[in-house]
Each structure stands twice: as structure tokens, then as C-alpha cells.
Amino acid sequence: MNVNVIIPLPVVLPLLGAGACLVFGRSARAQRLISFGVLSAVVVIAAVLLVRADTDGPQVVHLGAWPAELGISLVADRLSALMLLVSTVVTLCVLAYSLGQGVIEFGRDTPLSVYFPTFLVLSAGVSNAFLSGDLFNLFVGFEVLLSASYVLITLGGTGPRVRAGTTYVVVSLLSSMLFLIAIAATYAAVGTVNMADVAQRMDSVPPGVQLVLQLLLLTAFSIKAAVFPLSAWLPDSYPTAPAPVTAVFAGLLTKVGVYAIIRTQTLLFPDSPLSDFLLWAALLTMVVGILGAVAQSDIKRLLSFTLVSHIGYMIFGIALASELGLTGAIFYVVHHITIQTTLFLVTGLIEVRGGSTSLDRLGGLARSAPLLAVMFFVPAMNLGGIPPFSGFLGKVALVQGGIDRAGWLSTLVVAGSIVTSLLTLYAIAKTWNRAFWQPAPEDLDDLDHRWSSGTKSGERWGSVDALSNLTKLPTAMVVPTLVLVVLGSSLTLVAGPLYGVSERSATELMERTPYISAVLTDDTDAGDDPSTAGGE
């Protein structure tokens, strides 16, 4: 049996699941079962794909048995499969968390029937973007996940969410348009959108045109990945959404952009003249992002800024365009997806426990909620890059890559990355001190009164008050978060194998030929495909 049948499943299953969820819209129980079952299945499939891609090279399926140049190819090489696995594991945990979160159950301001299908569609879009072998299908994947994210970010249609959603939607639309222009320009230049085929034909394109195409694609993806100076939309739009939504956005959506940058830069433009340019972008993203984080007084906003800042590390790895740099970038993406999602989920718990995410109103949580404190402390130290954790390992790889590259610029970026790391620690320590160690502010009621007059923050917090008198955290929310905390910490334990996979992915990306030949010349597989693809 041809195992490649399973490649489209991470896209198809969630979409079917979303349909089924809509059919069973009235039964919350059925919806939960379906979404949980589907995502669990996708996790297994992703794991199988990773093993196969790692042992047998890139796995390819040509949908409908069309030749690669005409039809849609789905490709699972090491990078795609790794991203797919990490993203679905994280998505599954977030789903479990949102099952536990009262919001959906109470239907307080969240339409019950919409959340799960949209969540599954988001997952399908992410999978499609990771697996896609051609630029246009990548665009479709982006659109699927973006459309789902539009719905999720404005969930409930409250004032602050609509305001934040507006910025988000308009910026995303603009980046989609840029991406479309880039695709059309690529098609005009080389006559194909299949990435392997484009990579082959790109050599015959004049360097000026290549540069234009590269810049167009980079701009489109940098908006999605929130690379400075195209990152201003992110800290503005993420914090207002419900905790699980922010968590999954923070973990996955920007990383899809980073993945697209890695894929196009390594495959289509191997001898990039933009290496220095990207190094500057990386440096500015790191430093400006973290300076923004230091200024914030709301945990969600602070984390959104650290998210932007740490995207810089990944761009740094990509900009180095060396095997070591790419290895570091891939390792860092895996680490960051897990950690950033965990932190946002923990922030959701803080909001439930403390009634707010503002540092001005929190305090004394270490005493009143010790488990919560541990759950925040571990991933926070991980994010800050404290030695035993995976954040440190990823940064070491990147710093090594930066020092290996000749020139003062990469050394400067290395210095910038260390400063950023320290400032992250500072921001995290500030959060820790104010929310967990310091005694709670006394005049809470008074503050409540004053803050709720007019500001959007007041409105937001007002909606949480119903939950804020919980003295015990809901177990159903704690368990998935705890799982993610443990997962994030255990990245250190599996750092050897994980680094190995990242290294092999980087080698594969730098060589390019395994990917290109797998997509364009596997005639035997293409011969088998009519039966398999016809079944889809």
C-alpha cells in the first residue's frame, strides 16, 4: 500500500471534521468528540509522516495524479513534517484547554456552534500551508487559516475584539494581496508555481527580476510572520481575543509565516543577495520588539511583544543562510511554538484566577496559587533562555552560527540577540515579581470602578468578573497547560534527537535536490497515485 495516501489527511480530516461539527452544532458533546478525535488522528499522522520523511526522504503526493507542473503537490519533507507535528500537538493541547474553559460551555459571549468548526478549519489551513508544494496552494492554505482566524479573533463581536480584529483583517488582506502579486509575477517570470519547478527555472531568470520576486515574497511573509517593521499589527490585535485563541495564534500563525520564509528563501533563492538585509531585519525585530515588551503593563501585551521579538531569532537563523543557522532557526521555531503557546495559556489561567492580566491589578499569586506560579515560571525561564531549557540550546546554536559567519554585522546581531535575551529575562522577571511575588494591591474594588469607566480594558475585565472569584483553577484547563509545560521542558531531554532532525532538515534544505527531485521525478509514485488521489 502506498503510504502517501496519508499526506493529504492532515488537511482533509480537519475540514471534514469542521463539516461534521456544523452538522452536530446543537450537541456540544458531539462537537468536542469530533474535534478532539480528528486532531488526535492528525497528530498520529504527522508523527508517521515525520518518521517516513526522516528515513526515506521527502514524501510527495500529486493530487488527482496531475503532473507536478500542472496540479497540486503536497510534500512532506523533514521541515514540513516536523512543523506539522509540533503544530498539531500544540493545537490539540489548546483544544483540550478550550474544552475546559468555561467560555464555550457557558456560551457567555461566544457562539457555541462556531468555535470548534472554525478551530478545525484553522488547523486544516495550517497543515495545508506546511504541506503545500506550490506557491498558489500555499496562498490557499494561508487564506484558509486567515479566514478562520478572522472569525476567532472577533469571536463574540464585542467592541474591543471588533476594534482589534479590524486592524488584523486589513493587514492580513494587504499581505495576501502582496502574496498574490508575488505569485502572478513568479508565474510571469518562470511559467509555473510549483516550488520545485520554480527553483529549477529560477536560474535562467535575470538577477534583477529574481530580486523583485524575492522581495515581494519576503514582504508578504514578513507581514504574516510579524518581522519589524511589519510587526506593528500583532501586539495590537492578539491580546483581546480569548486566551486559547491568542495562544494558538501566537504559537502557530506567525510560525507559518516563518516557515514560508524558510521554504522560499532556501528553495527558490539559494544564493540570496539579501542576507545582510535580513540580518538587519532580524536585529531590529529582536531589539524593538523586546523594548516594546519592557514598556507593557499587561501580561498578554507583554507576551505579544516578546513574540515579535523572538521572531527575530528565527529570521537571524534564516539570514545566516548556513546549515548551522538554519538548524538553529528550525530548532528555535519548535521551541518557540511550544513555549509561547504555553505562556499564553498560563496567562489565561492567571486571568481566571486573578481576574485580570494587568500587572497593576495582580499580586500575591505565588502564595495563593502555587501551581500556577510553577506553570508560569518554568516556560517563562525557558523563554528567557536559562541554561537547562530548550530556549538556551536554540540560542546557542544561533549564536554559534552567527559567530561562524564572517563580518561585523553578524557579530552585531549576535550581541543584539544576547541583549534581547537579557531584556526578555527582565520583562519576565518584572511580570513574575509584580504578579506572583508582590502582595496584591489593596484597593481592588476602587480600581475596578475607576478603570471600568470607558477604557476598553475595563470592558474586557468586566466580562471576566464572573470567573474571577474562582478560588480553585478548573482542572480541565490546568491539565492541558501542564502537559504543554512538561512538553516544553522535555524539549531539553529530547534536544539531541530534535537537534538531529533540525540539522538533517537544514541539510536537506541547503542541498535542495532531494526536495526538487522528489517532487519532479518520482514517476513510480505518480503511477500509483490515481487510485490513492482518486479516493480523496
Binding site: T167, V169, V170, L359
Partner: protein
């Protein structure tokens, strides 16, 4: 490859108008801008597909060059996606009007707060431990 200059000019005009409208504050204008922009981009696909030819249906046309069907398929997909997103944007503009009486895109509230603090050369209350006096000032100001 020869390109159709009319299409290129039309595309440029549509994109230029679209971008101008996109820079507006009202969501409805932004929506119109997005529509113009997306139509401009769709025309770009037609330009990219090369010179026009016979309908690309095998067996139904005589000899002679066919149009390239692939960009047309992409344009169709892009049109459908734009339709969906426009519907969403329209709904959001309506919701925004329902909530606030207009559909203007507003500034980030907390950003504005920090900017104001910076203008008055004050630190945020998180900076030095947040004494009550500062909070009072801040509270009174909001």
C-alpha cells in the same frame, strides 16, 4: 513575451485607487479599496498568463494558440476567496457601526495611553511599583 498594455494600465489604475482607499479610516472605504486592489491583482494574473488565445478546452477549438488556463484557475480561486473575505469585512463594518455608531478604525487604546505617558514624560505605574498617587493621576486622565 508581448504584454497587453491596456491591461497593465488598467491594473495600475485599479491598484493605485485600491491602495489610496485602503489608507482611509472608514471600513467601508477600506472594503472598496480591497475590492479594487484584488481586481487589479486578478488582472495581473491575466497579464502574467501571456497573450490571449482560444478558449483552453481540448477538442472544442481549432488549431492555433490557446490561452493559458492555469492563471485563470488561480484567478477564479482568488475571486472566491476575496468574495468570502469581503463578506466578512462587511459584516465587521456593520458590527462596528452597531457598536460605536461609525465604522472608523480606531487607535489602539493602550498604545495611546503609553504615548500620552511618554508625552508628559512620566513612567508607567508598573515601572516603579505603582504608587497610588500615580494611579490616581492616570485614572483621572482616562
Amino acid at each position: 513575451m508581448t504584454t497587453n498594455l491596456t491591461l497593465v494600465i488598467l491594473m495600475a489604475v485599479l491598484v493605485a485607487c485600491g491602495v489610496t482607499l485602503l489608507l482611509e479610516r472608514s471600513l467601508t472605504r477600506i472594503l472598496v479599496g480591497v475590492l479594487l486592489l484584488s481586481n487589479g491583482v486578478n488582472l495581473f494574473f491575466l497579464v502574467a498568463s501571456g497573450p490571449a488565445g482560444n478558449a483552453p478546452v481540448l477538442g472544442s477549438v481549432g488549431p492555433g494558440p490557446m490561452s493559458d488556463p492555469l492563471p485563470q484557475a488561480m484567478v477564479l480561486t482568488a475571486i472566491v476567496i476575496t468574495l468570502g473575505v469581503s463578506a466578512f469585512l462587511l459584516a465587521m463594518a456593520y458590527r462596528s457601526w452597531q457598536l460605536g455608531g461609525d465604522d472608523e478604525v480606531q487607535d489602539d487604546v493602550e498604545d495611546a495611553l503609553i504615548t500620552r505617558l511618554a508625552e508628559r514624560d512620566e513612567t508607567s505605574s508598573t515601572f516603579d511599583g505603582g504608587s497610588d498617587g500615580e494611579l490616581d493621576e492616570e485614572g483621572a486622565d482616562t
